[in-house]
């Protein structure tokens, strides 16, 4: 179902920052007409449980399926990036601060985005799990939980599962987009660790920022696509009990077909 206008986002409790100051001069036309159908088709793919979301980042218009269902996340680098950006914007933990020897906060967030499990764990330890939980709670991201990252330890530490929802992920992409004029923010999401198939789908002409999370059971994709023509979209693909990773790529392809023109 297509949420037609930004006003409908008010029904979702999470606040959004969806306007890029650099592009305010050009009115947005919202999501293309075919997106709602594409979201439905992607969510109906066999071989997995799906959460699908698309947002026109300039207008805030969204189209989603299973928006509030929580999906498990292995490496929670996207919520950490959003949390880090907001903590930086309030001055609590600037992205340029050194949180480890010779390593700035934004660098650690970037290496977490690149899939570094140990680095992602270190980001959680640096911000503190309790502070992250408080931020999630204060901002109303009730479908998201960040507890840690499973590491290769001699005696494994049992962690509560990390989770995320489509509607929360869209808000996280919105937080990123709202500060995209900051170089250190762009660097966090730069060079997304997408599969070759995803890259071919999205083409080389667009500017991409993104996050990726994969286990044997799921492949999650979170992408911001900035088209040369001025449109800026966010895409969220969440999966569970996935039969094969290529299915998630197929879902992305269906969504992108509706956005690319």
């Amino acid at each position: 179902m297509l949420h037609a206008i930004l006003g409908s986002l008010a029904l979702i409790s999470q606040p959004l920052i969806l306007q890029n100051p650099d592009t305010l001069v050009t009115p947005s036309t919202g999501l293309p007409a075919g997106v709602a159908g594409a979201v439905s088709r992607a969510a109906a793919l066999e071989g997995g449980v799906w959460g699908i979301g698309v947002v026109d980042l300039r207008s805030g218009e969204t189209s989603t399926r299973n928006a509030s269902r929580s999906f498990r996340v292995d490496v929670p680098s996207l919520p950490l990036a959003a949390c880090g950006i907001e903590l930086s914007n309030t001055g609590e933990l600037p992205l340029d601060s050194m949180i480890a020897r010779n390593e700035r906060f934004w660098e650690k967030l970037h290496w977490a985005q690149q899939g570094g499990r140990g680095v992602c764990a270190a980001v959680i330890w640096s911000i503190r799990e309790t502070r992250i939980a408080r931020w999630l709670s204060e901002r109303g991201f009730s479908g998201t939980a960040v507890h840690g990252v499973d590491l290769d330890l001699p005696t494994p530490i049992l962690l509560e599962p990390n989770t995320i929802t489509v509607e929360n992920a869209i808000s996280f992409l919105g937080i990123f987009y709202g500060s995209i004029d900051q170089r250190s923010v762009r660097r966090i999401g730069d060079n997304p660790p997408l599969s070759q198939a995803n890259r071919e789908t999205l083409g080389v002409a667009n500017t991409l920022y993104g996050w990726f999370d994969e286990t044997g059971s799921w492949r999650h994709i979170f992408i911001i696509v900035r088209k040369p023509s001025g449109e800026d979209y966010g895409i969220v693909i969440l999966t569970e009990n996935l039969c094969c990773p290529g299915k998630a790529d197929q879902a992305l392809s269906i969504i992108w077909d509706a956005l690319k023109n």
Binding site: M98, I99, A100, R101, N102, E103, G116, R117, G118, V119, A121, A122, W125, S126, L151, D152, L153, P154, T155, I157
Partner: protein
Amino acid sequence: MKKLLISALILGMVVLTGCTGDDDPSGPGGTLPNVQDLAMGAASAGRNIVLVWSEVQNVDGYEVYFRETSGGTWTKVGETANTTYTHEATVAGYYSVRAYKGSNFSADYSSTINTLPNIINKVYTIYDRYSPAQKPSGFIFDPVDGTPGMAGDPNFKQDIYAWDEQTKGDTIVRLYSGTYGPYGNGNPTYMAEPMGTSYGYCNQYPTGTWYENYELYTTDRVVFCALPFPGGDIIYVKMYSLNISPDPDSPRGTIVSFRYEYQTLPNITVFTSNN
């Protein structure tokens, strides 16, 4: 004649030693009273060593002397008309004071005080998480003898432990604070780099840049540690003779070996120049 030459040589050496001073100097040779009660003032902090002593009547002032080692050469570091002097030290060492009036001096140097840390002359070894599980990664600093131990053991309250944040490389290793990361059940420790090649002092925490997460490079020789104690005092430790090497018992394990100096004077950040 030969005997006479040797005697003259020995006499010359004695005279030279007397001029430069030593642990029990024969004295500057003046006639003024000696300075008494030389002590370190409570306001001492970081590398600012505050010296205090009792007044000597009818003198112009006092000369403050410093030397790095007990057998080293005394160097005058300052002069004052008061009974206190603050020395901004770049290395730990000994202090002595004498009074002067015109060209006359105390008959002898005062007793000495020193800011030397405990030098734990022993090599300790810890290992990162890719070394075999029975090898210790944690470490507790102690004024007399440190203790390696299993950081994963909840009963072992480590000050630091070795940790590899990545999944590759056999010389990639970090030092984590005892309160940071997966084994954060220990005691807090903040770590700082040496300032250039000055290994004799560090900043006072939190001045400068201190880390709970400290990546070690194979070129590192020194790491300064700040250990906060209940009540607010901070004890400083200098890890030195650092050596980072692959663990032959594991394809990705890393060995970190080191010695350390433990500054027993709370909040004082001076050490020897060992590296």
